[in-house]
Structure formats: structure tokens, C-alpha cells
Symmetry: C2
Subunit: 338 residues, 2 copies
Amino acid sequence: MKQSIKSRHDLVAFSEGILSGDRIVLSQAITIIESNLESDQKFASLLLEKVLPRTGNALRIGITGVPGVGKSTFIETFGKSLIKKGKKPAVLTVDPSSPITKGSILGDKTRMDGLSKDPSAFVRPTPSSSAIGGVANKTREAMLLCEAAGYDVIIIETVGVGQSEIAVRNMVDFFLLLILAGAGDELQGIKKGIMEIADAVVITKADGTNEKNAAEAQGIYQQALHLSSVPPSGWQPTVLTSSAVTGNGIEEVWSTIVKYTEHIKANGFFQRNRSEQNVSWFQDYFALLLKADLQKYESLKSVQKNLEQALSNHSITSQAAAEKLLDAYHDVMRSDKS
Amino acid sequence: MKQSIKSRHDLVAFSEGILSGDRIVLSQAITIIESNLESDQKFASLLLEKVLPRTGNALRIGITGVPGVGKSTFIETFGKSLIKKGKKPAVLTVDPSSPITKGSILGDKTRMDGLSKDPSAFVRPTPSSSAIGGVANKTREAMLLCEAAGYDVIIIETVGVGQSEIAVRNMVDFFLLLILAGAGDELQGIKKGIMEIADAVVITKADGTNEKNAAEAQGIYQQALHLSSVPPSGWQPTVLTSSAVTGNGIEEVWSTIVKYTEHIKANGFFQRNRSEQNVSWFQDYFALLLKADLQKYESLKSVQKNLEQALSNHSITSQAAAEKLLDAYHDVMRSDKS
């Protein structure tokens, strides 16, 4: 019998619901994770701790590419092919906002309709607001809940224009870059840094009159990647072509991922990478907690405000101001008996 | 009479040397800034505080562009033209290392030979190692010292491949993107994000057979920039062409910068931007100080080590580990009587 959720912070009901694979409970739990309320944050932390032993068993795949490359269509086709193999894919997104325009790039329009409706899949749209800890942190926590709910392939989608790639790279096992081939635009618009962190490149929309361009681009990218130094995984990145229309190449993407996973499990990189990722996320969280801690004390807030005033007036160096704030923080800690 | 420096941390001698424009003292002071020794860091902080009233009067210009675009040649020619106008330019570099290859991109080879030797200019090569606080922080502090030494145009050079642009953008008044025109490669390889933060784009090497390409590229970029939203400065970015060989266009770059500066001083952006930059650097410094603070206590170090071990074993969530470390930090602060 299903346990019903009696309150927003019913730990037993939430953890049992998630572990039994209840999609509605999973969705509600992710909503709590995305919340900025302190009580929700605390509950999310307890819930994650509780389901932790059941996490970590999925294969984590990051997918990026510039707008227009066909990410949603690719993931829809790819996800359905996984379901046919008996897999349970979950799709999450990290949608960075432009630092200048503040607008959402991926948007919150409903996409991947077919996949969303399939009972074997779970599709979660972009969190609507960036929160304490940032969208990336929330996505990582949502990923852990999806794993606890039994999803065994987690796909994290992001868009190839910002820093979010690094954040996503840092939470997945395999990172896939989607590229659109077009006359004369090979290697165009792709940041060198993103090529460096990709385990495979897929040229999308390789169908019809575009097939020849895609094959050409495949050769060019493969050559470019061969010139790069071998990444820490010891895996030589592969370039593939695919078409969501004909379905060509989708199978090869999965077999490449399987081959890659076998490779990094054999050479120890898989475990080492996950351990390093955990430590790195811990450091990120800690920085966030410290930031929140400073907001807890009224006296510190006023010190901070005065320092910022002095900085605006150019009457103190940034370094000296930082030292004063640290001293004030120490003082508050010393006198705090809680 | 010149004050001689009696010890590495002779505050009076250093500040007087810098304020009198002594290039050797300035160089030595920057070396101390770049040092990671705690005693050097403390001295640097005092020195900056001491010369602070004499900083802030220079025009701060950031210059970026991919390797091969001709940054050094441009800066050499541009710097010499500034000297002819009676200006005193200082050139500093922020050289990010690739996160993967760890190699330096700009290298430490001696460049800008003519400018280095000119008594009106000061050229400081890239710090050899990334240090606590990062290369960008060190560069910013070096900039303040150069201002105190009387340099009135500070040029900060970086390379258009990483995150360093954002750091440099955040310490200058005017940000210049250099671009190389070539058949069919307009808008290529330039990250959208960098175009967004540039106040002007200069197409370099606009001479000989390349002149036509450069003019074409100028039109294309100007059009692209007109489609972007107007930045917070209210300044519509300009596209220029230049040649270090013929000297064409160098004058226009300077007059554009002068026009821009008048514009942002009139609309208040100049002061607002500098104030915001100070606050933002203060926050960065504070994060660094906290990090260093955690390394000061043996008990905290061992807590941290144990948590990282647990994270590697996947036996604790990153969030819970961060909470435990914050608790331990609070405990240490409470019992610390210093």
C-alpha cells in the first residue's frame, strides 16, 4: 500500500515514495529541492541523506550543444531507444541564463512530449528560478533522487554557451557534444574548452542533403580531436553522426557510451572521477553555506553594508574590507552561544 | 634623495618608491604581491592600503583576442602612440591556463620589446604561477600599484579562450576585443559571451591583401553588434580596423576610447561600474580569506580530510559533509581565544 504524504516535510513518506519509484512523489521532492525556503533546504538535505545508499547506480550522461542543434529531438529519440532496451531514462536540464540579458536560453516550453508521457521515463523541465546554490546544485540533487527512484540512465541537458558545461561535466560520467554540420561552419562557434571536455561529438541532422556535410564534418572533427592530448579518462573521444529523422546513428551513440563505460570502469577512472566529483561538490556546498551563514547575523549584515559603502567611495581596498569582514565573522562566532 | 629599501617589508621605502614612480621598486612590490608567503601577503595588503589614495586615476583598458590575432604587436604600437601623446602606459597580463593541459597560453617569452625599454612605459610579464587568489587578483593589485606609480593608462591583456575575460572585464573601464579577418571566418571562434562584453572590436592586420577582408568583416561585426541589446554602459560597441604595420586605425582606437570615457563619465556609468567592481572584488577576496582561514587550524584540516574520505566512499552526501564542516568551523571559532 502506498504511503500517503501527510505533510510537506514527511520524511518517511517521501523517502518511501521515491524508493518505490513514485513519479509524483519524486516530482514533489524535486520541487522542495528547488525551493529556497530554509525549512525546505533542511528537509531536502535529510531526504538526500536518507536515500543516499540507493543512489549512484545510474549512468550519468551530460549533453550539450548550441541552440538549434536539435538537443530535444536527439534526447527524445535517444531516450526512446533506451526504453526499448529496458532502460529507465530520466532527463534533467541545466539552463544557464545569459549574464547580460538574464533571459533563459532553453526556455520552459514543454519539450520531449513522447518521452514525458512514457511511464519508463522521467522528464523534468528547467527550474524556473536560479536559487541559492545555483541551478546546477539543484540539478545534481534532483539527479540523486532520480537514481534513488530507480532511473538508471540520467541525461542532463545543457546549452553550449556558458559555464554550465563545466558544472554539468562535473556531475556526469560521460559528456556528449552535439554539433550541426553546415557548409563552411565546421569547428565554428564551438569553444575549444568544450571540445576538450567532450567524450564524444555527435553531428546531428545527418539526413537528406545534409548527409554529405555531416560525413565531412565528422572527418574534420575526428582529426581535430586526434590532435588534442588524451584526457584523464584515457579515452580517445569519438565523432559520430546521427539523424533523429531516420534513426541512423542513435544505436552507435549508445554502444559508444557502453564501450566508454567499460573502458573507464576497467582503468579505475570511473570511481576516481565520481569520488573527485563528490569532493568538488562538497567544496561548492560549503562555500554556499558560508555565504548563507553570513546573512544570518544582523550585526554582520551591517558590517558588510558599511564596507560596501566604503568600497563604493573608494576609501578602502577590497582586500582590507575582506579582512575586516572576516574579523567581524570571527567575533560573532566567538560570542554566539547557540 | 631616494629612500633605499632596507628590508623586504619596508613599508615606507616601498610606498615612497612607488609614489615617486620608481620602476624598480614597483617591480619588486609586484613580486611581493605575486608571492604566496603569508608575510608577503600581509605586507602587500598594508602597501595597497597605504597607496590607495593615489590609485584610481588611470584609464583601465582590457584587451583580448585569440592567439595569433596580434595582441602583442597591437599593444606595442598602441602603447607607443600613447607615449607620443604624453601618456604613461602600463601593460599587465592575465594568462589563464587551460583547465586540462595546465599549460600557459600566452607564455612568458619576452614581448613588446620596444615598449618595455621606453622609460614612459611599464611592461610586466605574466606571473609565473597561479597563486592563492588567482592570477586575476594579483593582476588587479599590480594595477593599483601601477596607478600609484603614476601610470595613467593601464592595459590588461588576456587571451580569448577562457574565463579570464570576465575577470579582466571586471577590473577595467573599457574592454577591447581584437579579431583577425579571414575569408569565411567572420564571427568564427568568438564566443558570444565575449562579444557581449566588448566595448569595441578591432579587426587587426588590416593591411595589404587583407585590407578588403578586414573592411568586410568590419561591416559584418558592426551589423551583429547592432542586433545585440545595448549594454548597461549605454554605449553602442564600435567596430574598427587597424594595422600595426601601416599604423592605420591606431589613432581611431584611442579616440574611440576617449569618446567612450566621456560618454560613461557623463551618464554616471564610470563611477557606478568602478564601485560595483570594488564590491565584487571584495567578495572574491573574502571567499579566499575564508578558504585560507580553514587551513589554519589542524583540527579543521583533519575534519576536512575525513569528510573527503567519506565522500570518496560515497558514504555521505556533499551537502551533509559541508554542514559538518561548517559546524566544525563554528566550534573552532568559539574555542579560539586569539
